[in-house]
């Protein structure tokens, strides 16, 4: 029983820390800088698609030719699991390379699309990112060589050599990366740079008139946060042990983080943390008790989306600034 409870707690924690990366990025973009982004799943998907290929780098290292994305995916996973059961270095190197490649690619794409989107603001900017993200999701679902299409790509167990501790190590990696992300974003929010971002959010024209190059700063923020969103995409795949393009959809990867961000408190990183915790716990409770909810008049697979919509509406009506709204910065003199 204790082991089951521990497993549940670890599962909730992993889920929480994974979503914390998304809500932290959203807080930086929307909460602090006023850059509306409804397409967080764009960079997460890019990270996942890159991982779909770099994950099987070991096959090349070992000189094995297999169509790891297509018909030979199962065999490729079997072969790599066997190899990784006695080799820890190669999979760690693969993961390390993946992270570096994802960071560089997402930074580059963040810079390009950040520049392109400069002329947009508000809802139009949000829709721009949403359309971009939905497009990449559908391309991933249709174009098999990218990420296995509708069937997806199964991944090997990178920590097979650690036997029973493999899953635990994967969860620890997710938690560590999330904590690092949160700590970095907290530093930003408490610095003069964070204050500068808020001036752009409040009034971009006045910010320009006091000497701030707001366009350059906005591109920097999009580029910076895109790195972490891409890495979050890799972590999602590591956790699910597979890459499925449809899992990087607007509901799971964009709209739920938006609810967490609004519920917790826009512009307040601790608010984002609280909102994430509340929503993750509720979602996990729904997941574990789904089969006891059959008395409801809707199919159980629709409970979560309905919960998302209802909670968002209630939050916007009753507490639009969230549970922990942004606090004014007070001088002590």
């Amino acid at each position: 029983m204790a082991l089951i409870i521990l497993d549940i707690i670890l599962d909730v924690m992993t889920f929480f820390f994974m979503y914390l990366i998304f809500t932290s990025c959203l807080n930086l973009q929307q909460g602090m800088t006023g850059l509306t982004n409804l397409g967080l799943h764009f960079f997460a998907a890019i990270g996942a698609y890159i991982f779909a290929h770099t994950a099987f780098l070991a096959l090349r290292i070992y000189g094995i030719e297999l169509d790891y994305i297509g018909v030979d995916n199962n065999e490729a996973v079997f072969v790599l699991n066997k190899l990784f059961s006695t080799d820890l270095l190669t999979p760690i190197f693969t993961l390390f390379l993946t992270i570096i490649l994802v960071m560089m690619t997402c930074a580059f794409l963040g810079y390009i699309f950040g520049r392109i989107s400069l002329r947009l603001s508000g809802a139009y900017l949000g829709i721009f990112w949403l359309c971009l993200a939905d497009s990449i999701e559908h391309i991933g679902m249709q174009y098999r060589p990218l990420a296995g299409g509708n069937q997806g790509v199964l991944l090997p167990d990178f920590f097979k050599a650690l036997n029973d501790y493999s899953l635990l190590i994967q969860k620890i990696i997710v938690i560590l990366i999330s904590i690092i992300t949160f700590a970095l974003f907290k530093k930003i929010s408490e610095s003069p740079f964070g204050r500068l971002l808020k001036t752009i959010r409040e009034n971009e024209i006045v910010s320009q008139s006091i000497g701030k190059n707001t366009n350059e700063i906005k591109v920097k923020i999009i580029t910076f946060s895109s790195i972490f969103l891409g890495v979050a995409g890799v972590l999602v795949c590591l956790r699910t042990r597979g890459i499925f393009a449809e899992s990087f959809n607007r509901i799971d990867v964009s709209f739920w983080p938006w609810l967490m961000f609004i519920l917790g408190g826009s512009g307040n990183l601790l608010g984002s943390l609280l909102g994430t915790l509340i929503c993750v716990v509720i979602r996990r409770i729904v997941l574990y008790s789904k089969f006891y909810l059959t008395f409801l008049p809707v199919d159980i697979i629709w409970i979560e989306p309905i919960l998302l919509g209802v909670t968002l509406c209630i939050t916007l009506l009753i507490k639009p600034r969230g549970i922990l709204p942004e606090k004014p910065h007070k001088l002590k003199y």
């Binding site: 008139s209 000497g211 003199y333």
Partner: protein, 253 residues
């Protein structure tokens, strides 16, 4: 250099509307120049062209002999020109002190990489705070320093607006109706302070103002605009006797 700002045949159009029509003027160093004229004569448009908020269609703007025509606002602000707005535009959800701290120039903490290393910016932040407190005390709104700007009165917002170029230590101040909506005693105090800053620090001011009864005794030179053109100019004692000024205000031809 005796001229800090030179404008040559500046023209600004909004579609078929000519807001500024070949306007030329010069502003000497350390002077207080007043722009007057009826509503819609192009005064604010002129300030917006100088500060980079509008791009002129024709003409040139030379600041310290550097052509700044059409440069973006942030570049012009970095050169030492700061503009205040007719209707105060502040960062409403930030506190009064944050509104001013954001104006502090060349802050190392405003670089993305530096914000992870507090020791790189904490000294400058403390300097910025000291300067902010000094400016707030000068403006007499230091007690409101931790209030959200949104909660300030109209007059206090005007004072906060004036605090920005002070904190930036600009060389050329473009003040758009700095004493509008302020009680006469406070208005006199602000105008006296403008003169003091000019005398002690040799700063230059271009002021747009309607309240001639208050402002004329503080300025050195006046340009009167009407329908986008300069109709007359001169020292304040002469300008008020100029018939063209009254023709412009009362639309007499």
């Amino acid at each position: 250099m005796s001229i800090i700002l030179k404008i040559e045949k500046l023209t600004k159009k909004f579609g078929s509307l000519i807001a500024l029509n070949k306007v030329s003027l010069e502003v000497p160093y350390g002077s207080i120049v007043l722009l007057i004229g009826p509503n819609g004569s192009g005064k604010t448009t002129l300030l917006n062209c100088i500060s980079g908020l509008y791009k002129p269609n024709e003409g040139r703007i030379l600041y310290k002999e550097i052509d700044i025509t059409g440069k973006p606002p942030y570049e012009i602000a970095k050169l030492g020109i700061t503009k205040t707005f007719q209707i105060p535009m502040n960062f409403k959800n930030l506190t009064v002190n944050e509104n001013l701290l954001a104006c502090y120039p060349n802050h190392p903490g405003e670089k993305l990489l530096n914000c992870f290393l507090k020791r790189k910016w904490i000294i400058e932040e403390n300097n910025a705070i000291q300067r902010t407190i000094k400016v707030l005390k000068i403006l007499n709104i230091d007690e409101q320093c931790n209030q959200i700007a949104h909660n300030l009165s109209g007059g206090q917002l005007k004072l906060l607006e004036f605090g920005k170029p002070l904190l930036r230590d600009s060389e050329l101040f473009l003040l758009d109706e700095p004493v509008a909506g302020i009680n006469p005693f406070l208005a006199e105090e602000i105008l006296s302070y403008i003169q003091k800053v000019r005398n002690e620090y040799r700063k230059t001011f271009i002021i747009v103002e309607h309240r001639l009864d208050l402002v004329l005794k503080y300025v050195d030179y006046v340009y009167a605009l009407a329908e986008g053109e300069i109709v007359c100019e001169g020292p304040p004692q002469e300008i008020i006797k100029n018939e063209k000024l009254y023709e412009a205000y009362f639309a007499l031809k």
